[in-house]
């Protein structure tokens, strides 16, 4: 059928099928700014304006739009002239991956067209239909406030990230400075309603600013912001190639079953079907899917298609067909004969004698004890905990439970594969680890690495779900089977069932302490639930141990852990990587101890937390690389004391003792509380994570920066370009970043383990410094100087000490065309022996309804020491977004199953992630320190915001009600039962 519509002011006739939704039809017509987020409309990634109203095009039949007027973000800008809303989104740092930025821009337009002077509540309401997993909504709200003011012709509000000037390298204590002493707790204001205030500059300066920087440390607009705010085709699915087939998966309806037979004859007979692949026609090659360095940790417990399924959603077969509809029909026609087996879902049940054995295949390599579903046992110790317990005045033991959640990147996994003209396999894929994917997929496909090229375009979020070789092997097999280009995108439901998730764990702490609060022994015992396959099971649980036993000084520590198979969907990497689990248990446990000792909780923690110069004593035993010599890392920079002080100020800490505030007389069933958690993370995996960069000069003095690092929306490309620009003395716009492409860019392990700024950033800095030396040398030659010492690069010029200067363009033209011709270029790689910990303090304020158990989070405040923030806008954006994900983890997100292991809530809504119109107030402060090992003093920031919210909420609920809850998430019924059991509920 045909529909007649007006799109961005132009009359158009579009052809569509009656069942097709408007997203599909508009994308086919070239409007790429509408993106897939789900089939049920909740993400809003496909939002458009229909007759000026914001609606979700994926739940609107194209036919319904017949006769109506449609606006997409493509119609907002005229040539290079952006709409003021678009400019505001760029300027305020409201764009991370940009996947749903066009939808947010349209939401803003729908509001501002009607209401030029909206309240913050109205702004949050207009964004309520667009789920964002990245920004925490704060910067988009700020962007709309700015745009509204500009459109009204007013001076726009300025939003400054709250950044404290870098602290110098510390002496004896951790850069204490004038504020932050032990006794001196500052006066603070009271917390208000959820309002987005204009950030003010810090009230004090800890130390004089260090050397003048021009690009680093500045809130530069992201280098990819323009294409993202315009909705340009930049993502995997925006790529078009002739003759492309559509793939679809058949996944298991059973949690545990043997496949006795597959009959694909009916599917193959369907016209338009080109291939059906499954265990009978795909070679059995063992692998582990976690995107990690060579050699991937064992066990290698997966094959592309097995004759056994181990969770609901496990792979059974895949189809490639001319259309998605034919592929879906073919899937229905595959006949699978299952022998259903008993299944086990709980990590504590799975290790019991007689539990169903999940990996009974004879060819599995490297599991610790497959007969008891144990993929790994991890043990590490320093000192002697038993001796420590004997010496202790008190010993405390508590058990905590953490659950399984999903990463929910709004862009699901998607890969398009095809043979290029040289008959090499090209995989354009939404991945955090293009180089690992190339190496890992090769043996599964029977192709040498040299015949595979992996391209990572823009990525719509990953959060660890894409630190995995998840679907690329299927696409590769189908390209090989058909000779045609093949596209496979997971649906939102598949993303929940068949992708990856965060490990559920049972965590037990036993801690010995002296009467004065000194820790003498800590033992942490963890049973981690890795689901059906191990992938990241070893390393995530190792990080749980490392993070659970590093924050506090203690001479005797022990970590004992089993990583356990169950018939649940697979756990893998998720931003934080074992640390959020550890922090929930550790920071709850420490508060319980302080409470029992009658000590002030912050005083107790401060007494024991690691300070500058302290050794991280268990770290050498919980690394990822066997090391011949044991080197105990030492903390070299920490702003933790200052972070705590800043956080206390931001949240209004003193109110937690005010009975009138805690139990407001006019609301008898409400109790209020404030809690905190200390956070400590790592920066990259020492001795293992390597990143590389290459850089070259162009005729006009601009530079191509080629990096293997994978910006998944975080701003990594921008931060790395800022580092290059700083070294080369040019503005950011002169650096053209390209990442990542295994044919063109140097190797990088990829975006994980909070490594990019630190590892890849140091590689960029080294490469840029090498190139700068080449430029200076040429400048000396051109200026007739004996040597290049004293020449500095600044403002796109090379300046001699005598005041003469040459433009970089003059130097480049000279080198490329005029004399002693050569291409100035440089490459460098970096691997760090160190993993300097960023520190943070997370605070939360809650209201607990003691009759219903409903917890309302009214405020989150976090102060983070990330070293020097290369870009304060992207850095604060990381914290705001990370805290918001962490809030979901602590409060409302959970993967829930029925007795057969079927996920009950594989849909957004039932799986609840926070919306713009229900967010608590967010406050972020960056407490900068100078990390001596980092580029320009930087440490990591990406993951630490995931660590503290759950324990801070637990502690706030305790402060409010006196009831300790040792299991997340804090959903109403769980809290109600705990309150009732404690006799608190009304």
């Amino acid at each position: 059928m045909e529909i007649h519509v007006t799109i961005n002011g132009e009359a158009k006739t579009l052809t569509c099928q009656p069942h097709e939704n408007l997203r599909v039809v508009l994308r086919r017509a070239g409007y790429y700014s509408l993106r897939y987020g789900s089939d049920t409309g909740e993400t809003g990634a496909a939002a458009i304006l229909l007759d000026g109203r914001l609606v979700s095009a994926d739940i609107l039949l194209a036919a319904q739009a017949d006769g109506h007027s449609i606006e997409t973000v493509e119609g907002l800008s005229r040539g290079t002239q952006l709409h003021p809303i678009q400019e505001a989104f760029m300027r305020t740092g409201a764009i991370q991956s940009g996947y749903n930025t066009p939808a947010m821009v349209l939401a803003a337009k729908a509001l501002l067209d009607r209401n030029p002077n909206p309240t913050e509540e109205e702004i949050r309401d207009t964004l309520s239909g667009i789920l964002d997993r990245e920004t925490g909504y704060l910067k988009p709200v700020q962007a709309i406030m700015q745009a509204a003011a500009i459109l009204r012709g007013e001076e726009p509000p300025v939003f400054e990230p709250n950044v404290l000037t870098p602290m110098p390298l510390p002496g004896a204590d951790e850069g204490g400075g004038p504020v932050g002493g032990e006794e001196e707790m500052p006066d603070v204001g009271s917390g208000g309603p959820t309002t987005t205030a204009t950030r003010t500059l810090p009230k004090f300066i800890v130390a004089p600013p260090f050397r003048e920087l021009r690009v680093v440390g500045k809130p530069e607009v992201k280098v990819d912001a323009l294409k993202l705010v315009k909705g340009n085709p930049a993502f995997v699915d925006d790529f078009e190639i002739r003759g492309m087939l559509h793939a679809k998966l058949l996944t298991s309806p059973h949690a545990h079953a043997r496949i006795l037979d597959i009959d694909d004859s009916e599917a193959r007979a369907l016209p338009g079907v080109h291939a059906v692949i499954h265990y009978k026609n795909i070679p059995r090659v063992r692998y582990a899917s976690g995107g990690q360095s060579y050699p991937n940790p064992k066990p290698w417990d997966q094959v592309s298609f097995d004759n056994k399924v181990r969770h609901v959603g496990d792979r059974v077969a895949a189809v490639a067909a001319e259309t998605p509809e034919i592929a879906a029909e073919a899937i229905k026609r595959i006949r699978v004969t299952y022998e259903v087996l008993p299944a086990v879902f709980d990590e504590n049940e799975a290790i019991k004698e007689g539990a169903p054995v999940i990996h009974d295949e004879p060819d599995m390599e490297g599991a610790y004890d497959a007969a008891h579903n144990i993929s790994h046992r991890i043990h590490a110790a320093v000192g002697d905990v038993e001796k420590g317990f004997a010496e202790a005045d008190y010993v405390f033991e508590h058990t905590y439970r953490v659950h399984q959640v999903q990463q929910v990147p709004i862009e699901p996994h998607i890969c398009i594969g095809y043979w290029d003209a040289d008959e090499r396999l090209v995989l354009r894929t939404s991945t955090q680890v293009p180089f690992h994917v190339r190496r890992m997929v090769a043996p599964l496909l029977g192709l040498p690495v040299k015949r595979i090229r992996v391209i990572k375009p823009r990525i719509g979020g990953g959060f660890g779900a894409k630190q995995e070789m998840l679907i690329e092997d299927i696409v590769g097999h189908l390209v090989i089977a058909t000779g045609r280009p093949v596209r496979l995108e997971l649906s939102r439901e598949e993303e929940f069932r068949s992708s990856r998730s965060r490990h559920a764990q049972t965590i037990h702490y036993k801690t010995g302490v002296k009467k004065d609060g000194t820790l003498v022994a800590m033992k942490m015992t963890v049973i981690g639930n890795t689901g059906a396959y191990a992938t990241h099971g070893l390393t995530v649980q190792t990080v749980t141990g490392l993070r659970g036993l590093s924050t506090y000084n203690c001479p005797n520590k022990e970590f004992e852990c089993l990583v356990v198979y169950t018939n649940r969907p697979v756990a893998g990497a998720y931003r934080g990587y074992g640390a959020p689990q550890a922090h929930f248990a550790l920071e709850s446990h420490m508060e319980e101890i302080a409470e029992a000792l009658g000590m002030d909780v912050i005083a107790f923690k401060r007494k024991n937390w690691v300070k500058v110069g302290d050794p991280l004593n268990i770290a050498p035993y919980l690394g990822e690389r066997e090391s011949d010599t044991i080197v105990v890392p030492v903390v070299q920079s920490s702003g933790l004391s200052e972070c705590v002080v800043q956080g206390m100020q931001a949240i209004g800490w003193e109110r937690r003792q005010d009975p009138l505030w805690k139990a407001p007389p006019d609301r008898p069933h409400i109790r209020r509380g404030i809690g905190m958690a200390v956070c400590m993370h790592g920066t990259a995996i020492p001795g293992l994570d390597m990143g590389a960069a290459s850089i070259k000069i162009n005729d006009d003095g601009s530079f191509n920066l080629l990096i293997g690092a994978t910006d998944l929306g975080t701003g990594a490309d921008t931060v790395l370009a800022q580092i290059a620009a700083e070294v080369l003395g040019v503005p950011l716009e002169d650096i053209i970043v390209y990442s990542s492409d295994t044919d063109l860019t140097p190797f990088d392990v990829g975006a994980y383990a909070s490594s990019t700024t630190y590892i890849s950033g140091t590689a960029v800095k080294k490469a840029a410094e090498d190139l700068a030396a080449q430029i200076r040398e040429r400048a000396a030659l051109m200026l007739g100087l004996a040597d290049e010492s004293g020449i500095v690069l600044r403002d796109r010029r090379a300046w001699a000490p005598d005041g003469r200067s040459l433009s970089l363009a003059e130097i480049a033209l000279h080198a490329l065309h005029q004399a002693h011709q050569r291409q100035f270029m440089a490459s460098a790689s970096y691997l760090s022996p160190d993993s300097p910990p960023p520190f943070g303090a997370q605070f939360a304020e809650v209201e607990v309804d003691i009759e219903t158990g409903q917890v309302t989070v009214t405020q989150l405040a976090m102060a983070v020491d990330c070293g020097v923030a290369i870009n304060p806008l992207t850095a604060t954006g990381q914290v705001e977004g990370g805290m918001t994900q962490a809030l979901g983890y602590a409060h409302c997100e959970e993967m829930v199953y029925d007795a057969q292991g079927r996920l009950l809530n594989p849909r957004l809504g039932p799986y609840k992630i926070y919306r713009a119109d229900e967010m608590p107030k967010l406050a972020v402060t960056l407490v900068q320190t100078l990390e001596p090992t980092g580029p320009f003093g930087a440490k990591a920031i990406a993951e630490i915001p995931k660590d503290g919210v759950a324990p801070a909420l637990a502690n706030a609920i305790y402060n409010a009600t006196g009831v300790r809850i040792r299991q997340i998430p804090f959903t109403p019924e769980r809290v109600w039962r705990a309150l009732r059991q404690a006799g608190v509920a009304g």
């Binding site: 739940i59 319904q64 309804d849 409302c892 109403p972």
Partner: protein, 245 residues
């Protein structure tokens, strides 16, 4: 989706009813589409009501007369509607859903957690169903109790809602904007009668006598067990009633 083979946009009610009455074709009425386009399986053909002019809103004799195709957002912004009703409409979904979804669609979907339906129930809402045999008017409570048979091959065309009296709402949910686990809406009519509606305790939102609340047997799910939902029904009922006194 993927199964709809034909789309119709009739311009008269009789044409629409004829399309729905055809034997052998599974034909669904398409209102806004927020539910049907996301979840419907097994629908062969759809009849879109957008060209029937069913989106008028009129206040007469203290009653709102709302066309079934009126968008939920229109109700949110309707000054003549009681604040509790507007607030409940606002909670029917996020911005995008409210701008696409319709009042009639919300009623026919009969989501057990719809606070809008609970609010409509306490405001003595009546619905008009048009069939080829003529039109009939019944209470919303009766319509919901009848389930899918209430419509048969008819079309819900109009909704009549009282606007008088004093109303209040209470809810418990995982987060402030989440669908409620249990919600209670109550209204005291000008005559002093109490209407109480609950959602999250039965297959659809229901009107219930306050003294019956403690005897409810709600269906449990992962967000709230039977026991919890019944307990919350009691707590929230007590709270809404207290706010009316």
């Amino acid at each position: 989706m993927g199964v709809i083979r034909a789309y119709y946009r009739p311009t008269s009610l009789s044409e629409a009813l004829q399309l729905l009455a055809r034997p052998g074709v599974t034909t669904a009425v398409l209102a806004g589409g927020t539910y049907l386009n996301a979840h419907a399986e097994g629908v062969d053909e759809v009849v879109d009501l957008q060209a029937l002019g069913l989106d008028n809103v009129l206040l007469a004799d203290g009653y709102l007369h709302i066309g079934a195709m009126t968008r939920v957002q229109t109700l949110v912004e309707l000054d003549a509607a009681p604040p509790v009703l507007r607030q409940a409409a606002h909670r029917e979904g996020p911005n995008t859903f409210r701008h696409q979804g319709t009042v009639g669609g919300a009623i026919v979907c009969a989501d057990p957690e719809s606070e809008l339906l609970a609010a409509l129930l306490v405001f003595d809402t009546e619905v008009t169903v048009q069939t080829s045999a003529g039109s009939r008017t019944l209470t919303l409570a009766a319509f919901l109790a009848d389930g899918p048979t209430a419509l048969s091959s008819g079309i819900l065309t109009a909704v009549k809602v009282a606007t008088t009296g004093l109303a209040a709402a209470e809810r418990v949910a995982r987060t402030p904007a989440d669908t409620p686990i249990v919600a209670a809406v109550a209204r005291k009519t000008p005559e002093g009668d109490i209407r109480l509606a609950l959602c999250g305790v039965a297959k659809t939102p229901i009107l219930v006598a306050p003294e019956q609340v403690a005897t409810l047997e709600p269906p449990g799910d992962f967000r709230g067990s039977r026991e919890y939902r019944r307990e919350m029904a009691v707590v929230l009922t007590r709270r809404v009633l207290a706010r009316l006194s």
